[in-house]
């Protein structure tokens, strides 16, 4: 491999400034939406006492899960010694930090008392997986920052492998923690499953790489830097494997539930009778988010078309959001089984009924602001520091390439 040259982007074009302007506007609007929610109270949102985590959590958890997955490209180069991925490692680390920051911003701003963030940082209940996650998230920022430093300062390069190993292990633990937020919920029919942890790890591989692929394609296209097919083909083939991996864990989860009579209720709800949740599961999560991307990535006629590969990555992201909607909202909407073997015929608090939830504009705007925060961080960072190789053309990254 030739010596890869990293260079800041110029960042003076109209397109770049327009991108910053649009992202900045989305962030401002999102902060305005947050102000409404916090000033008025959460009655303006779609949440209620049955569906307590709504749209902001879908955005936040998606970004947090994707953050750890975005780091995989760097891990593949440092931990698994795949030199072809090395030029991408810096951008991978940057994206990981940016996505996590965006996700956490949403999570914090959706708290009932975001002004008490300092309480969350100073009072810890160590039996709570949430408390552990606060430590894991903060640690992730620190470790990935050090990892980037090791990669970006030549004299420190020799340490990038051990730090990369730590970062890789940390991100696996982090996503285990995120999945366990649901895995540890004993009371809810849709959760309370150890498979949540590996499922979330598979989801992180998939969502993170899909975002990475799109950011890579967009940034190279917009900066006019060459991006070869070899690297794209590698990434999309890998993404296909990850999409199939998620599908496998989803299949294992539902098959296990279908076997046990006690879970037939929630399974019938998600797979057959759940109305919007059933439609979202089959059409959104399975067809749009899994099967279509697999076809686009692996069919000989579409797999070499960049636009269609990009579309496949976009579908993985949309399908991932839908998957989290079904998991988070659907899992809460399904009524708690407080009286097994009995039917609730009257209740002062809607027991035994499917809970209602409709996303409010405020929640959606806050979620989009988190996405914009992640993207603007990347856009600004690549202008300030050397994250992007000047060329990812085939002959520059692949030593065995023969054009």
């Amino acid at each position: 491999m030739k010596n890869v040259q990293f260079m800041e982007i110029e960042g003076r074009s109209f397109g770049y400034l327009a991108l910053l302007g649009i992202l900045g506007a989305i962030i401002l609007v999102g902060l305005g939406a947050w102000y409404v929610m916090e000033h008025e109270g959460h009655y303006v949102t779609g949440m209620n006492n049955a569906v307590v985590w709504g749209t902001p959590h879908i955005f936040a958890i998606f970004l947090i899960v994707a953050a750890s997955g975005a780091l995989n490209v760097a891990s593949i180069s440092s931990v698994f010694n795949k030199t072809a991925y090395k030029p991408l490692a810096r951008l991978s680390g940057l994206l990981a930090i940016a996505l996590l920051a965006g996700g956490l911003m949403i999570l914090v701003l959706d708290l009932g008392r975001p002004d008490r963030l300092i309480v969350a940082m100073t009072y810890y209940n160590f039996k709570s997986i949430f408390a552990w996650n606060i430590i894991l998230y903060n640690g992730f920022f620190a470790i990935v920052a050090v990892y980037l430093w090791m990669m970006m300062q030549q004299s420190m390069n020799k340490y990038s492998k051990p730090v990369g190993v730590v970062a890789f292990l940390w991100r696996l633990i982090l996503t285990t923690g995120t999945g366990s937020i649901f895995g540890f919920l004993v009371a809810r029919q849709g959760y309370d499953a150890a498979i949540m942890a590996p499922l979330f790890i598979a989801m992180s591989f998939s969502f993170g790489l899909a975002i990475f692929l799109l950011v890579l394609m967009a940034s190279y296209k917009w900066t006019g830097r060459p991006l070869g097919d070899a690297i794209l083909q590698r990434l999309k083939n890998l993404l296909g494997v990850f999409v199939a991996g998620v599908l496998y864990f989803v299949l294992a989860y539902h098959l296990t539930n279908l076997y046990a009579t006690e879970h037939h209720g929630i399974e019938a709800f998600i797979l057959r009778d759940g109305g919007i949740y059933t439609q979202l599961f089959w059409i959104g999560q399975i067809v749009i988010g899994s099967l279509l991307p697999l076809v686009l990535f692996y069919h000989p006629s579409t797999g070499k078309n960049r636009t269609l590969v990009g579309l496949g990555a976009l579908l993985v992201i949309i399908g991932g959001m839908i998957q989290l909607y079904v998991l988070i909202i659907g899992g809460q909407a399904y009524p708690l089984e407080i009286f097994p073997g009995k039917e609730v015929i009257e209740s002062g608090f809607f027991d035994g009924q499917v809970a209602e939830y409709a996303p409010s504009i405020w929640e959606v705007l806050l979620g989009l602001a988190g996405v914009a925060v992640a993207l603007i961080m990347v856009a600004l960072a690549v202008k300030i520091l050397r994250f992007m190789p000047t060329s990812l053309a085939d002959e520059d990254v692949d030593p065995h390439h023969s054009a």
Binding site: N49, K127, K342
Partner: protein, 253 residues
């Protein structure tokens, strides 16, 4: 009980405890026996007691919601808090509710009140990141409103949908039950009454209506009415499969 009388009680109790301390045991201790029997405010709850409520569903009258309205009036939610008017019925606080259930096999219909079950191993306490969800030594599960960040993870974890999130600004709250926008709340087992040897408002109201479907008492005291009832007739937990060892038990389920 109005705020004013509560404050009067409080200062009277402070006066008595101070007076008792100052006078010491040299001055006829028996005089203060009734007043100092309640645990002084500066002493922590101990695990010598475990407070519980037993509900006899056979006596719980269908259509009666005295326990619910008594709780509202005592703690200032629902009909007792006119300021919570923007939240939808799904968003409004619900510390205790009446539920009517029918057995799928036999068709047997029962009515019962449902609230925080004050578990010995409460999932809400396990998951709370800051420790705001907590269990007192005497088994009462509470939310420390000062360190609740409003993350709602406890509401995700509770098997009984016993907790509510305050969705808007509230006014005219009761001194005994401070409530705040953006924090989570639930049945306190009328801890302010229990600490003064009192009985939770729901139990009191049920007895006042002569239904006598609710017993409150110390589960650790074998001679308490609740312990004797449980020993003689048993009492079931809701979601016993979760192994939470609830402080609220039901008969006749």
């Amino acid at each position: 009980m109005s705020n004013k009388t509560y404050n009067a009680d409080l200062s009277r109790r402070h006066f008595f405890s101070k007076a008792a301390a100052a006078a010491g045991m040299a001055v006829a201790p028996g005089v203060f026996l009734r007043q100092v029997h309640a645990r002084p405010a500066d002493q922590a709850a101990t695990s010598e007691q475990r407070w519980g409520i037993l509900i006899d569903t056979n006596k719980c009258a269908k259509g009666c919601d005295s326990c619910v309205t008594a709780c509202m009036d005592e703690n200032g939610w629902g009909r007792a808090d006119a300021s919570e008017d923007k939240s939808s019925p799904h968003q409004k606080a619900q510390w205790i509710r009446k539920v009517t259930i029918k057995d799928k096999q036999s068709g047997h219909v029962q009515s019962l009140p449902l609230m925080c079950q004050h578990c010995e191993n409460p999932p809400c306490v396990d998951v709370c990141p800051t420790g705001a969800s907590m269990k007192r030594a005497d088994g009462i599960v509470l939310v420390d409103k000062h360190i609740c960040i409003g993350c709602r993870y406890c509401m995700m974890a509770c098997p009984y949908k016993a907790r509510s999130f305050v969705h808007e600004d509230l006014e005219d709250q009761k001194v005994v039950a401070p409530r705040g926008k953006g924090t989570v709340e639930s049945c306190t087992m009328c801890v302010h009454r229990v600490d003064k040897d009192g009985t939770p408002a729901c139990v009191e109201a049920c007895n006042a209506d002569n239904h006598n479907a609710m017993y409150f008492g110390d589960l650790k005291d074998p001679n308490s009415e609740i312990s004797r009832q449980l020993k003689e007739y048993g009492g079931e937990e809701l979601r016993a499969d979760l192994g939470l060892n609830t402080g609220v038990r039901y008969q006749g389920l």
